[in-house]
Symmetry: D2
Subunit: 364 residues, 4 copies
Amino acid sequence: MKNTFGNSILVTLFGESHGDAIGAVVDGLAPGLDIDMEFINHQLSLRKPKGKIGTKRHEEDNIKIISGVFNGKTTGTPLSIIIQNNDTKSDNYDNLKELARPGHADYTGDIKYHGFQDYRGGGHFSGRLTAPLVAVGAILILALQKKGIKIGTHIKRCGGLSDRNFINYENDINLLNNLDFAVLDDEKSKQMTEKIEETAKDGDSIGGILETAIIGIPGGLGEPWFDSFESLLSHGIFSIPAVKGIWFGDSLDLIDSYGSEFNDSFQIENGNVITKTNHNGGINGGITNGMPVVFHTLIKPTPSIYKMQDTINFKNFENCKLQIEGRHDPAIIHRARVVVDSIASMVVADLLAERFGTDFLSSK
Amino acid sequence: MKNTFGNSILVTLFGESHGDAIGAVVDGLAPGLDIDMEFINHQLSLRKPKGKIGTKRHEEDNIKIISGVFNGKTTGTPLSIIIQNNDTKSDNYDNLKELARPGHADYTGDIKYHGFQDYRGGGHFSGRLTAPLVAVGAILILALQKKGIKIGTHIKRCGGLSDRNFINYENDINLLNNLDFAVLDDEKSKQMTEKIEETAKDGDSIGGILETAIIGIPGGLGEPWFDSFESLLSHGIFSIPAVKGIWFGDSLDLIDSYGSEFNDSFQIENGNVITKTNHNGGINGGITNGMPVVFHTLIKPTPSIYKMQDTINFKNFENCKLQIEGRHDPAIIHRARVVVDSIASMVVADLLAERFGTDFLSSK
Amino acid sequence: MKNTFGNSILVTLFGESHGDAIGAVVDGLAPGLDIDMEFINHQLSLRKPKGKIGTKRHEEDNIKIISGVFNGKTTGTPLSIIIQNNDTKSDNYDNLKELARPGHADYTGDIKYHGFQDYRGGGHFSGRLTAPLVAVGAILILALQKKGIKIGTHIKRCGGLSDRNFINYENDINLLNNLDFAVLDDEKSKQMTEKIEETAKDGDSIGGILETAIIGIPGGLGEPWFDSFESLLSHGIFSIPAVKGIWFGDSLDLIDSYGSEFNDSFQIENGNVITKTNHNGGINGGITNGMPVVFHTLIKPTPSIYKMQDTINFKNFENCKLQIEGRHDPAIIHRARVVVDSIASMVVADLLAERFGTDFLSSK
Amino acid sequence: MKNTFGNSILVTLFGESHGDAIGAVVDGLAPGLDIDMEFINHQLSLRKPKGKIGTKRHEEDNIKIISGVFNGKTTGTPLSIIIQNNDTKSDNYDNLKELARPGHADYTGDIKYHGFQDYRGGGHFSGRLTAPLVAVGAILILALQKKGIKIGTHIKRCGGLSDRNFINYENDINLLNNLDFAVLDDEKSKQMTEKIEETAKDGDSIGGILETAIIGIPGGLGEPWFDSFESLLSHGIFSIPAVKGIWFGDSLDLIDSYGSEFNDSFQIENGNVITKTNHNGGINGGITNGMPVVFHTLIKPTPSIYKMQDTINFKNFENCKLQIEGRHDPAIIHRARVVVDSIASMVVADLLAERFGTDFLSSK
């Protein structure tokens, strides 16, 4: 399937960082979904670099939907999104074209594409391609909200600092989705921002852990083998640049626990099935159980740093030194969270469409 | 795709724990691959419960290949594996059929399948279905070995105890693949076994962390978006029952590190490209870089415990108590490791077939 | 996807003519569908060779469902069907193993599988693999009937003789589905049978044209591009051995007509949308319009004939003569029709499941 | 898969006739393929309406490749093609938006998309979407030519007139690919053109039969079941608007023949395997045998005619009359042939990439 994701709702991503444009095609959307450009732009703004903690490349992200929408609603045919590339300074990359930036895909891209890849700004590997993903996610997130499903992510850990846990999922999600820097505890938010700023000053970078909750999701989504909910979600999440890990519920915190501690007891509460705890993160046997789906995404430190690094020239196979210039992020974790939400919306919408039919999301 | 995995080499899994038989179909295998029944049985033996640390259900796992093999070699047509179910004691499950065992898929299966599922022994969700997966993996692992690619997994952590790290990948992998209990440090192996035995005596269960290395894997495998190596591997790994997390390289240990620490410097060594460190676990930008692929799999405590638990009857929607009987594992981490190796072999073989053609694995 | 077909309901076929067994796995079936072994066997009987007009290989086709069924209903998990091979006379094929039977896949199989294929009785290419397809079809046909959708096929042309056209679709379909030799006109049926018998006596073979109607099918199934109803159906139909063509509605008869003749006028009749004519065979723009879907399948003469033929030995690359022995069909068109119905049921059920959700077929 | 086609090389089509733009994304192309804009435009010119026998809508088809190409070669990442829509006269369609043009997808589109579809000019169903397909095909056709594989199509029959058969495939293909009106016999070409002009004058339309040959194609492509070469090709071909049938080789002409006549005898000629005849159209058992692949495509009369027709208003469910205005083709068979070639190139390139690896097409 390569650069396409999904079964009932398929998302195809294309473009290079310094090419004409980047974009996405979404196929399988129910006809009649609302296209709310304001909300799409709001979601894109959450992804944008800001202040001292972001790259100085400022793209307008003027998205244009060139197909699949008519009179403000999806038509049900493939919806295509295009974002022109404007603020490209390709000169910064000319001297890099044969050097493998450590932690980046320059070398692996060269092996895979035999030197034909567009090396400028990371080319097709660029984090910039998450912009159309966020636009697609915005359409789905809005549609899911109308079905009572909400998604939110906070920075659980960054630079050795930890945010508080979710207390009330719905309130916290509403809060997060209007924060530029998605940390629930104000004090910790300030400290993490300062930590990123300090790291930036030092020409270095940091990563961290995101925690995401999906509430209102019905039970019964996912398959026993291969297409478990965890399988599909992790498949999508690992597409996001800099993601190196994912785990569900409290599984990592309880790594040394006993089954008697880890098992989530079922209970009838007000006629509904719940679990008393949610260590399994809302999933049993690969299938959602109706509790909030909770997962953690591990983000490595951004590989672009301004310090001198050892590396190779992969054309002449010589060792060399490299100091990256250009405009880069000292951390991308605060920008990545809306991408995580978007991927999560794709997985949930896809499974709903498969289980309840292609028109489900626009049904009353 | 549901219960099918892969793009060029497709594996479909079927069967229920207490049905007639379980099995798998593999399509897309190169013609001419060796079928070594001794090796397949060796791999299956690594999955078998043993001594006090395993369930007392003893299945012979007499596998039968009923298609796709002729004169001891693969034909290139779909290869089907059947394992009869013999030692089934379904009576143990009759009293459970309306009760949701905590941590199990009884309730989620009931939502998904509306009560039509075969509830006996976990039905299609049973860990027993990993037996045909291991048989499929054995065929692929042998074929990969002939291409210089080796896979090995050890129990990195279990019951609060940690194994030593990999020192020499090749030696350690060879050692592990002949150990019933895959721990590199003998003393730690003994302690972990004792810990599992104690836990069993207490009617409880534990989990842990597996660490897997794939060596000899060529660079250039994986896609920038959606089908990154991490995406495909995690997709497969999360199919294994009780897996709740995966992370690559040292990313979790270095969660608070700086980019200048986490980046793996490239270096030319004896004419080959290597990285000085391998914190990224052999993958940059979703694509293998030729270094060992290293990843960790988080296994939750086995949900089957003998202690009294709170739960619900999902037919009459009443709260109730449950004490599981039958034959269960106090830990499955030592049995899961060969399943992890098998899934890893499926992902690697699939990507090799896609990149180098369907006949690659049997080519000279 | 190779030997797998479908999107929401996936069918995987495996086995070789003279191997241990042949079979199929169906994934994505709604839970709760009835398994009526009597009806499955009835459908299989329509595929069986009979009297002078069939091969003398008599397989019992004792099908065994080894997974995915519990208490007489589908569970929703992969359903596997196994048919043991018993009446195999492999000796007949030993002298053929290096000779390319004209019109058969011996030579193309050898190129594709590099000599590792099971050459006995056509191996994986054998028409015998249509038996599990028919069993799968039987399950779906029954489920579709409960939704008011019926499928029937007659031999439109064979040996220069033509059957009458469909008059009343429902009556004719009911009639056909209980006929061993699916011809609507009794006199023509007798003549065609005699023609096949004569051909058999002469050691030769014939083909013909099947016409299939699907009634009760809702409008709106299929996609504008690539997954048009015609695309999906033809994809499946061309899997059937000896099929060399397919066309929809009256398109071939009206090949020289004008648009003003070919266009089917829409009309409101009793509050329903119908078309006055149905030259387009129930499909406009790749999507069903609610009228009967009608298509024709072209079956070439069975390639197995008893006459001396020129051919090659594909091992030593020499020209040679070949006279086929063994047990073969002078025509397979009368056996193929139930296979066509089965493939049609797979396409319709798949599209319904995709559009209306995975549980649609078992919904009230 | 919906509006996506292929396994190793995936083509996704998007856009509406009167929307901003139409386009395609191609994923899985080998890196390093030449992008020859002149050849792409040549192929597009073969699709353009011309003179009295084409619609008066004149689109410039200014294609723009916005990703996946760098320095004149494919990069190996998704290649996106955009064609702006300029010469749109949507007013012509406003009065049609609730009327079902007979033979068109207006009504079926309305059922499928519940009234949200873009009805202008056929929307997503428009034949205009074949322009990006032809552009994609041009890239592949050029790459295949470098591997010695050529594709050509002529109008075998149109308006009751028949072209001569292929005599020398290579010469004839070369000739056809430079003809605006692809008929081998000059006299017949003139007569067919006149026939179309007459039909146009009468406000009516005609269809016909295309015959396509693919030469230089290696043996061994295709699968025994479901993904036979015929299955994949027909799947693609039936995406083309107005296609209602396909058959391979001489199968239709020889519908009443015997096996002894239809079987193609194998023969060694100059060390190569050939068949003396090619009634099977180069395919045995679903797999190419190295002979030219020959198939016929049935094109129905263009449904847009200027005559008064009976139809319905599908909003208020009333019978009504309809006289189509606007700019339409009296025949599209001469424009469709390059689309058929393009689809054929997609199928062949896809199977080559699957069998020989993703880089095969750009390998030396």
